[in-house]
C-alpha cells in the first residue's frame, strides 16, 4: 500500500520511532527515556550471550572470542544501564512523589497506575540482576579463572563488584552470580509475557504504528463518498443512484460507535499507546477541566477490543447475531458500544485543534476517532448538541453559519 509514500514512512520510522524525535518536545523526560531505550537496545547483545550460555552450558561465551570488543561492549551496556537505573528511579519519583498532573488524571487510577509502576520496578529488577551477575563475576574471575574467563575491565562492575561483594565467600559469590543470571533471564521471560497485557507493548508497536501513521494533511477529514454521491444525486450533479433493491437491508452506519467501524490504524494506535498522557496535557479541553482526555479515548478503544476479543474467545453463543454463523467480529453483539465507555460529553468537548496529534511521540491520532464518533452521533443516531442545530439549518438554508436575512455582500456596499 501507498508505495509512493513508503520513503516518507521509512523516514518517520527512522526519525520518530528509532530516533525518538518527537519525544524531544519535552527535553527532560526525553533524555531519561533515551537512556532506558538505548540501554534496552544494547542490552540485547548481552542477552544474546545469556541465551547462548543457558543453552550450551558455557560461561560468558563471547569473553575470550572477541578480544577488546568484549569489555568495550559490556562497559557500554553498563554505563547505559546506570543511566537507565537513574532514569527509572526519576520516573518512579515523577509518578508517585511529584505526582505530575498527566500521571494522576482520572483515567490513571487502578490498573493503568499499577501497570506504569510495575514496568519501572521490573526494569529495576532486570538491572539489579545484571549488576549482581557482573559484579560477582569480576571477583570470581580472580578466584577461579578456569571457570570464569577474564572479561577485561568493566566500566561499572570492576569497581562496583568489589565495593558491594568484596570479602564474600567464594560459594556465596557463585550463588549470587547464578542468582543474578536467573533473576535477569526469568524477568526477561516474564516481561515478554507481560507485554501483551501491558501498555509497555509500545516497545514493539511503536514501530509499525509510526510506519502506518497517517501522512495525509492533518487538515483533511476522510471523505465519505457514499454521502457525497447521495448529495450529488440530490443536486442533480450525477445520475440518480439506483435504489437499493433490498428494502429490508439495515440502514448503513455512518461514522463509528464501536471498534469494527474504526480503521485498523485506530486499533493499532490504541495498542501502541503507552499512556504517557502528553496528548491530554496539551489538550485545551483537558487543560480547562473538561471531561475529554485524548489518552482515555485510546485506552477505551483498546479496552473495548480486549472485551470483545475475550467474549469471542469464550465461544459463548449468546454473543452471536446470527446463530447459524460462527462467532466472529462481524457476527458479534453484546448490546454495548464504545459509547458505554466514552461519553458524549467527552467527544463534544473537542476543538479539533490537533494538539493531541502533534504531541504524540509515536504518531497516534485520537482526533480521527473522536470525529468518527461524532459522525456516528450526528449521522446515524441523529442526535448531538442542540446548539448545533441552528448552525446546521443556517448552512443548509442560507449558506451561512448564521441565519441572517442580509446579503453576503452587504459589507462592501458600506465601503464601495
Amino acid at each position: 500500500m501507498d508505495d509512493e509514500n513508503s520513503n516518507l514512512r521509512w523516514k518517520n520510522v527512522l526519525l520518530v520511532a528509532f530516533g525518538q524525535k518527537k519525544m524531544f518536545k519535552r527535553f527532560i523526560p526525553a533524555v531519561l527515556h533515551l537512556f532506558i531505550y538505548v540501554a534496552f537496545l544494547f542490552t540485547q547483545i548481552e542477552l544474546l550471550e545469556i541465551f547462548v550460555d543457558g543453552i550450551f552450558g558455557t560461561h560468558r561465551f563471547f569473553a575470550d572470542k572477541i578480544g577488546f570488543l568484549y569489555p568495550l561492549i559490556i562497559s557500554t551496556i553498563e554505563i547505559l544501564s546506570v543511566g537507565a537505573f537513574v532514569a527509572t528511579i526519576v520516573f518512579l519519583y515523577r509518578r508517585n512523589i511529584l505526582k505530575l498532573p498527566r500521571f494522576t488524571m482520572a483515567e490513571m487510577t487502578g490498573w493503568p497506575k499499577k501497570d506504569g509502576n510495575l514496568i519501572l520496578l521490573l526494569e529495576l529488577v532486570l538491572l539489579v540482576g545484571v549488576f549482581t551477575m557482573n559484579g560477582t563475576d569480576v571477583l570470581l574471575q580472580e578466584m577461579d579463572p578456569k571457570h570464569y574467563p577474564d572479561s577485561g575491565f568493566l566500566a561499572v562492575s570492576s569497581w562496583l563488584g568489589p565495593l558491594l561483594f568484596g570479602g564474600f565467600e567464594q560459594s556465596t559469590l557463585v550463588f549470587l552470580e547464578r542468582a543474578g543470571w536467573w533473576l535477569h533471564i526469568l524477568t526477561v521471560f516474564g516481561f515478554l509475557n507481560y507485554l501483551a497485557y501491558s501498555k509497555h507493548l509500545h516497545i514493539i508497536f511503536a514501530f509499525p504504528n509510526v510506519y502506518y501513521a497517517r501522512i495525509s494533511s492533518r487538515g483533511e477529514m476522510e471523505n465519505m463518498p457514499e454521502i457525497m454521491n447521495e448529495v450529488k444525486s440530490m443536486m442533480g450533479l450525477i445520475d440518480e443512484v439506483a435504489p437499493d433493491p433490498n428494502m429490508d437491508a439495515a440502514l448503513p452506519n455512518f461514522g463509528a460507535n464501536d471498534i469494527k467501524d474504526l480503521g485498523w490504524r485506530d486499533l493499532l494506535g490504541a495498542y501502541t499507546c503507552t499512556e504517557c498522557g502528553r496528548c491530554s496535557s496539551v489538550c485545551p479541553a483537558s487543560q480547562t477541566g473538561k471531561k475529554l482526555s485524548p489518552r482515555k479515548i485510546m485506552m477505551d478503544v483498546r479496552d473495548r477490543v480486549e472485551e470483545i476479543a475475550c467474549n469471542i474467545d469464550s465461544k459463548n453463543e449468546d454473543f452471536k447475531i446470527d446463530q447459524s454463523k460462527v462467532l466472529n467480529i462481524e457476527n458479534y453483539q453484546d448490546g454495548k458500544s464504545l459509547f458505554d465507555r466514552i461519553s458524549k460529553e467527552e467527544i463534544h468537548a473537542c476543538t479539533s485543534c490537533n494538539a493531541c496529534v502533534e504531541a504524540c511521540p509515536v504518531m497516534i491520532n485520537p482526533l480521527d476517532i473522536i470525529l468518527d464518533l461524532r459522525r456516528y452521533e450526528i449521522l446515524t443516531e441523529s442526535t448531538g448538541p442542540q446548539d448545533w442545530l441552528p448552525m446546521f439549518n443556517s448552512i443548509e438554508n442560507s449558506g451561512s453559519i448564521w441565519q441572517l436575512p442580509n446579503s453576503r455582500a452587504e459589507w462592501i456596499e458600506e465601503s464601495n
Binding site: 518536545k25 494533511s217 492533518r218 487538515g219 483533511e220 477529514m221 471523505n223 465519505m224 457525497m228 448529495v231 450529488k232 440530490m234 443536486m235 450533479l237 496539551v282 485545551p284 487543560q287 480547562t288 477541566g289 473538561k290 471531561k291 475529554l292 460529553e345 463534544h348 468537548a349 473537542c350 476543538t351 479539533s352 485543534c353 490537533n354 494538539a355 502533534e358 470525529l371 461524532r374 459522525r375 456516528y376 452521533e377 450526528i378 449521522l379 448531538g384 448538541p385 446548539d387 448545533w388 448552525m391 446546521f392 448552512i395 443548509e396 449558506g399 451561512s400 453559519i401 448564521w402 441572517l404 442580509n406 453576503r408 455582500a409 452587504e410 459589507w411 462592501i412 465601503s415 464601495n416
Partner: protein, 261 residues
C-alpha cells in the same frame, strides 16, 4: 479610509474580464461586524497593491467546515458541492482567504470532492505582496510596540504556517514576545471543532480565558491573530479580564494596513 473597490466576480466576468484571484470572504468576514473590518482591511491592501481580484458575494456559501467537524457530513457535502459548482463554473484557479478554516477546507478537503485550486491564506498573500514590492512599510505605527502573536490551529499546527505571519510582524518593527505555548504547541482559542456554536462542556475554565491570560502575561498591548474566530474568542477573553483599555486584539492585516503607504 480610502475609497474601496471590491468588485463582484459575476460583474467582472460579465464585463468580459477575469479576476486573477478570488477573495473568499467567508461567513465571519461577510457577516460578523468585527470580521468585516478585517475583510475591509485586506481588500484595502489588495487595492493598494493593485490586485485584480473579486469576491463571490451571494454566490459564496459556507465552506462547510463547522458542519463537517461537528460530524454532519450531509450538510458539509451540500455546502461544499454547491461552492465547487460555482468555483468550477467560473474556472477559478486561485483563492485567497482571511479565514484559516475556509483556507484549510478549500485547500485540503475540496480536492477529494472535485474542487482543486491554489488556495492561499491572506497572511501568505500579504507577505508575497511585500516580497514583490507591491506594498511597502511606511510610518511605523507599531514600531517598537510589544505584540504577541496567537497561532490559529488551522493555519499553524494543521497547515504548518508559523513563520510567515511572524515575518509580517517583523516587517513592522514590533517587539514580538512569544507566549509560552506557541507555534506547534500553541493553545487553541476554544472556537474550533464547531465549539464556536455551542455552550462549553462543563469544566473549570473557558479555553479563551486560559489563552488570554497567557497573552496578558507577555505584557503586550496588542494580540495579533489571523482568524476571525480567534479574534472573537480572544476579544471576549480581554473583555472578561477587563483589559479592553490596555490590550487590543487585531488581525495581522489590520496592523499592516495601518503601516503601509
Amino acid at each position: 479610509m480610502d475609497e474601496l473597490n471590491i468588485p463582484l466576480y459575476a460583474d467582472v466576468i460579465a464585463s468580459g474580464k477575469k479576476p486573477d484571484v478570488l477573495f473568499w470572504v467567508g461567513c465571519a468576514g461577510s457577516y460578523d461586524a468585527r470580521a468585516q473590518k478585517v475583510s475591509k482591511s485586506f481588500a484595502q491592501i489588495l487595492n493598494k497593491a493593485k490586485i485584480n481580484f473579486a469576491i463571490l458575494g451571494d454566490e459564496e456559501s459556507c465552506t462547510g467546515d463547522p458542519a463537517r467537524r461537528a460530524g454532519n457530513e450531509f450538510i458539509f457535502q451540500m455546502s461544499a458541492l454547491q461552492n465547487i459548482e460555482v468555483l468550477n463554473g467560473y474556472e477559478v484557479t486561485k483563492i485567497v482567504t482571511a479565514c484559516p478554516h475556509c483556507f484549510n477546507t478549500l485547500k485540503n478537503e475540496y480536492p477529494a470532492l472535485g474542487g482543486k485550486y491554489e488556495v492561499i491564506h491572506h497572511t501568505t498573500f500579504i507577505h508575497q505582496l511585500f516580497e514583490e514590492g507591491k506594498i511597502a512599510v511606511e510610518g511605523g505605527a507599531f514600531k517598537g510596540k510589544r505584540i504577541t502573536y496567537h497561532d490559529s490551529c488551522y493555519l499553524g499546527r494543521v497547515n504548518g504556517i508559523f513563520e510567515v505571519p511572524r515575518k509580517l510582524l517583523a516587517q513592522l518593527d514590533v517587539e514580538l514576545v512569544e507566549m509560552k505555548r506557541c507555534k506547534s504547541n500553541g493553545l487553541c482559542c476554544g472556537a474550533g471543532g464547531a465549539q464556536m456554536f455551542k455552550e462549553d462542556e462543563p469544566g473549570d475554565k473557558r479555553i479563551n480565558i486560559d489563552r488570554i491570560e497567557e497573552a496578558l502575561e507577555t505584557g503586550s498591548s496588542v494580540v495579533a491573530s489571523n482568524c476571525p474566530f480567534c479574534l472573537t474568542m480572544l476579544t471576549d477573553g480581554v473583555k472578561a479580564k477587563e483589559k479592553q483599555s490596555d490590550v487590543d486584539v487585531y488581525d495581522i492585516s489590520e496592523l499592516i494596513i495601518q503601516s503601509i503607504k
